[in-house]
């Protein structure tokens, strides 16, 4: 069988992703898209962000997406960025000019509906939470984290990190045996998402719930206020979007067929060594 070829040979097949990882990955691919797009619609209901316990129209917003009679504008602090056509002022599918913050192509549903977006968002939040809890339990039971994700001795050394960064910058990605495992930049970004962004999304989301704040007052204290939690929720969503974009770019650079095949069927064919 092909899979019994000599260790580390290019062309050798390895079991790269076990089935819980594959299921969780694809479920999250759907969940993250729905959460992101329905979240942008929810943001459209009040396209201003604040720090602290309270924040409404009369209070200072650190971020705002708005419009003038001719322009769409993104304001962050004192910096104004014209965003006509994309944010704040854009043309919908019927050719009508709209002044909502995020455009119809980026939101679920396309046309403004806070209630429908909330239905999507709060239902898929359950799928996200239940899936995440099940996957975390499996990871702990099988030692996935320590085996595959935690940095190994030497990987965090500045020299190694720098070598990986420069190699990535030149898109010289690992080949042969080295490609069988996650490299340190992958590990660090996956760990940052798993233990930073995803828990932050869950906690800051719950901290916006008035009932959860009554049940668990520490939740809102964690973020120093509900409006701060809302800002953190938005920032982390943008960071997750950035992660997804970089992730897709890296998949494309590393060989999309090889990578997709591994994430669907589990088996990964080691790429050829460089000549």
């Amino acid at each position: 069988m092909m899979r019994d070829a000599a260790a580390g040979m290019a062309g050798e097949w390895r079991l790269r992703h076990r089935w819980p990882t594959r299921i969780w990955h694809w479920a999250n691919a759907v969940i993250v898209i729905v959460m992101l797009m329905s979240g942008l619609m929810i943001f459209n209901a009040h396209p201003r962000l604040y720090w602290g316990q309270y924040g409404a129209n009369a209070d200072h917003a650190w971020l705002e997406i708005g419009s003038t009679p001719t322009q769409g504008i993104l304001r962050i602090g004192d910096v104004m960025v014209p965003t006509t056509g994309v944010l704040g002022r854009w043309t919908d599918g019927d050719g009508m000019v709209q002044t909502r913050a995020f455009p119809g192509w980026a939101t679920i549903p396309t046309r403004y509906s806070l209630s429908a977006a909330r239905r999507w968002h709060l239902a898929f939040a359950w799928a996200f939470a239940i899936g995440g809890a099940a996957y975390a339990a499996w990871c702990m039971a099988r030692g996935h984290l320590s085996r595959d994700l935690l940095p190994r001795r030497g990987e965090l050394a500045p020299g190694h990190l720098w070598a990986e960064i420069t190699a990535h910058a030149r898109l010289r990605l690992a080949k042969g045996e080295a490609a069988a495992r996650y490299n340190i930049l992958q590990k660090l970004s996956y760990l940052a998402v798993l233990f930073g962004l995803l828990p932050a999304m869950l906690l800051s989301g719950l901290a916006m719930s008035p009932a959860m704040d009554a049940a668990w007052p520490w939740l809102v204290d964690l973020f120093a206020g509900r409006q701060s939690a809302r800002s953190v929720h938005f920032i982390c969503a943008m960071l997750i979007l950035a992660f997804v974009l970089v992730h897709l770019a890296m998949v494309a650079a590393a060989g999309p067929v090889r990578e997709l095949r591994a994430m669907i069927g589990g088996w990964y064919r080691l790429p050829e060594e460089r000549a």
Partner: protein, 249 residues
């Protein structure tokens, strides 16, 4: 009908995800599936939340400089205008439905009842928050005074503000109705309730979102079920726009 190439490419490339999501959004079956999450959320939140758990109360320094108003800012009816012109001196709150002794109380009587003052955060479903100091009569006092029946499962609030042909209405269950912070407020930040914030009486139900906090309340009704109220989903926004009846998140 011939499909133009441009339209064909458009529908194949850019639109399918959104089209699919939009189709699902407006499909009643899928919507019903999404709605199941509301019940799950309510049960889960009630599970981890003590029945009497209090919403946070803030200090005077935390109060929002401006308490934003939303929804109706001034009910349009002539009778409301007349009441407002007379300082709501003749406004009466009716308490009825499944009660042993229906009540009709004037504002003077209500302001004479034991009051609770609380500085709490108001969270609008749109995302903004405002902190204000509310003073009002605990709903529990009114319900006990009227001898609310053990068959009552919900309290419905009938309001004076119009939304097209209907008047605003909202409802909460007995867990929230009997909660110590659930009050019918008649003052905001030390002054009589302004018209834009619901004068002369508005509900505060501090563990839920803003649209549950009915303004311009003129009648309270204890009921066994919500099916006969409006469209049957328990509130104006619930019936007209499919907002959640349980607005704890």
């Amino acid at each position: 009908m011939r499909l133009s190439r441009r339209r064909l490419i458009g529908s194949l490339a850019a639109a399918p995800l959104l089209t699919a999501c939009d189709r699902l959004t407006y499909s009643e079956g899928f919507r019903e599936g999404l709605r199941a999450a509301e019940g799950l959320t309510m049960r889960a939140q009630r599970l981890v939340m003590d029945r009497g758990a209090l919403a946070r109360e803030f200090g005077a320094a935390d109060i929002s400089p401006v308490f934003r108003s939303n929804g109706t800012r001034r009910p349009g009816s002539q009778s409301y205008a007349d009441h407002a012109a007379r300082g709501f001196a003749d406004w009466r709150l009716a308490v009825g439905g499944l009660v042993a002794r229906p009540l009709s109380l004037s504002m003077a009587q209500i302001r004479g009842l034991p009051a609770r003052t609380q500085i709490t955060r108001h969270d609008c479903v749109e995302g903004w928050s405002a902190i204000g100091r509310w003073t009002g009569v605990p709903l529990r006092l009114l319900l006990e005074g009227a001898g609310v029946s053990t068959r009552a499962r919900y309290i419905v609030f009938h309001c004076a503000d119009d939304y097209g042909p209907v008047r605003y209405y909202e409802s909460i269950d007995m867990v929230d109705a009997l909660h110590p912070q659930t009050i019918l407020a008649w003052a905001l930040n030390g002054a009589l309730l302004p018209i834009e914030n619901g004068a002369p009486l508005r509900l505060r139900v501090e563990r839920q979102l803003g649209y549950k906090h009915a303004k311009y309340v003129e009648r309270i009704e204890a009921v066994a079920g919500l099916a006969a109220i409006g469209g049957g989903r328990g509130g104006y926004w619930e019936d007209s726009n499919d907002y959640e009846w349980y607005a704890g998140i």
